[in-house]
């Protein structure tokens, strides 16, 4: 039996031995359906509310909408500088964050996993440290610093801040991914005279694709959804990102909550991330060892 395949029925006896499927399988199916229903319900209701008229969305609770209309989405799409601007900014910042995270975390993970420099643990802790600091507190000094270098109101500046938030987790993921690659492969490469950098580029990175993809996915999601730093660092409507739009559009005149716009904004904020997640799912669900060991 090949080590690369994972049997699909770990919880049941091998099909060869039994002819009827055991009740535990039905139980599992029922559990899955229940879980899906519970988890999806809030979003489904949100979607239903988003296609209602504005007034109905603010009225007494009801399951199904009576009025249909896309006013809420139109309101969000047309707000201030227009949805396209915000989406463009968010996408650019998210992509830059991904590049920065991968460029910094992959070598760092490699160094931590494969070499044993003195003080490796300390380096790891330093790299994880940003997670433990309330980042809201860091934003004010960072803003004043960035202002001196013209990084305020710039997407590069925001990408740097997002990278700060994502880097610890990215380093941890990459270190994990690299550590689970068997030593024999690396030793084989070393014997062949491959340099460390070459080994990283041609052997480790390809094998750690699931880890890289996970890093990219979380970097994208967290950058896309990040609100506070985006608001602090961007000064002009045309530089704003999607989360800022979503918060502003919910506030009606004088602080009233526009529930309909809120629902539309929730739905809109889910879609791009969902698309990215579904597109990348294949790469890291397929297991970490895709047939590498003979």
């Amino acid at each position: 039996m090949s080590a690369a395949t994972i049997p699909s029925e770990l919880g049941a006896l091998a099909p060869r031995r039994r002819r009827r499927t055991p009740p535990s399988v039905y139980l599992a199916i029922a559990a899955c359906v229940a879980v899906m229903a519970i988890m999806a319900a809030p979003l489904v209701f949100s979607f239903l509310a988003s296609i209602e008229s504005t007034t109905e969305a603010s009225s007494a609770p009801h399951y199904l909408p009576h009025s249909f209309g896309l006013q809420n989405y139109l309101k969000v799409a047309r707000y201030q500088a227009g949805l396209a601007t915000y989406v463009g900014n968010s996408t650019l910042v998210a992509l830059m964050t991904i590049v920065a995270c991968v460029a910094l975390a992959a070598p760092a993970g490699y160094g931590l996993a494969r070499f044993s420099p003195y003080g490796k643990e300390i380096a790891f802790l330093i790299l994880l440290a940003p997670m433990m600091i309330p980042y809201q507190a860091l934003l004010t000094p960072l803003y004043l610093d960035f202002a001196k270098f013209g990084l305020v109101d710039s997407r590069i500046g925001l990408a740097i801040v997002h990278t700060i938030l994502q880097l610890p987790f990215s380093v941890y993921l990459m270190r994990n991914a690299f550590e689970s690659i068997p030593r024999e492969i690396e030793e084989a490469a070393m014997i062949d005279g491959c340099s460390a950098t070459r080994r990283l580029a041609y052997i480790f990175l390809p094998l750690a694709v699931p880890g890289l993809v996970t890093v990219a996915l979380f970097a994208f999601i967290n950058s896309w959804n990040e609100f506070l730093a985006a608001l602090v660092f961007m000064n002009r409507e045309f530089s704003f990102t999607v989360p800022i739009l979503l918060v502003s559009v919910r506030t009606g005149d004088h602080g009233a909550v526009d529930w309909g716009a809120l629902q539309a904004s929730i739905v809109l904020s889910v879609i791009p991330c969902l698309v990215v997640y579904l597109a990348l799912q294949r790469y890291y669900i397929s297991g970490l060892l895709s047939g590498a060991v003979k």
Partner: protein, 292 residues
Amino acid sequence: MRAQRSRQLQGWLFIGPALLFVAIFVLFPLGQLALTSLTDRSLLGGGRFIGVENYLRIWRDSSFWRALAFTVQYTLVLTPILMGLGYALALLTFENTPLKRLTRTIVFVPVIIGLSSSSLLWFWLLDEQVGLFNKLLVDLHVLKEPIVWFISADLAFWAVVISITWKVVGFGLVLFVSGIQSINPDIIEAAIMDGASYWSRVRLIILPLTRRILLLTTLVSAIGSMLAFDQFYIMTSGAPRGQTFTAVYWIYQNSFVSFKLGYSSALSVVLTLVILILAALQITLTVRSEAA
């Protein structure tokens, strides 16, 4: 020996860029924060050096300690729920059948929406006047009449716990699934052939072999809970009467509402130290138990 040393140096070269990044963009502003904590700087500018006066004030600040206690309570309640539920779901869905993959995707979707979006979503769901959660519970005869969730600190606490569990459980799920899937299937096969029951397989094989990811995910989740802010800001506004302030919320209040930048910097430093100590404790425990 020289090869060993040059290997070490190489290691540092790879780690270098990330370290440099953290040093410039995290440690440096952290230093600035620490310096500000020694002044009475206001958000509106100005301020003189006052030494450790801010820290002495923290010692007497009952609101901060109450907020910290609340945050710890929140962490101690939420983390086991998230980890337990996440792991149970991972055991349910780690196989790659289409149904289970679909389940995983759906459980993960809430992770994808922003924290402020999900907090507002639940805020809407739990609202006494327009919310569906209450209506559902009443229609299912679980409740007699809708609860006003945000009237008491306890109910508000559970409201937030429910909404965050919904949002974040998928995160643990994905990590635990990847951990379980990376177990060598031969080991499981062997256990099955030896006649091991499902639960003993879980207990004796799967759990121990995913121990590392379990412990580290717990740590990350706990730290995240200690730093919780957005969800409380949006859902409870600290109500009633500041009883649901978390530590970071209290820092926010001091910075941006009371304009006391110097004092809130000191609060941030203290909170960071608290978290560092807790994290160090947990890591030490992890390392020790791994060595055993």
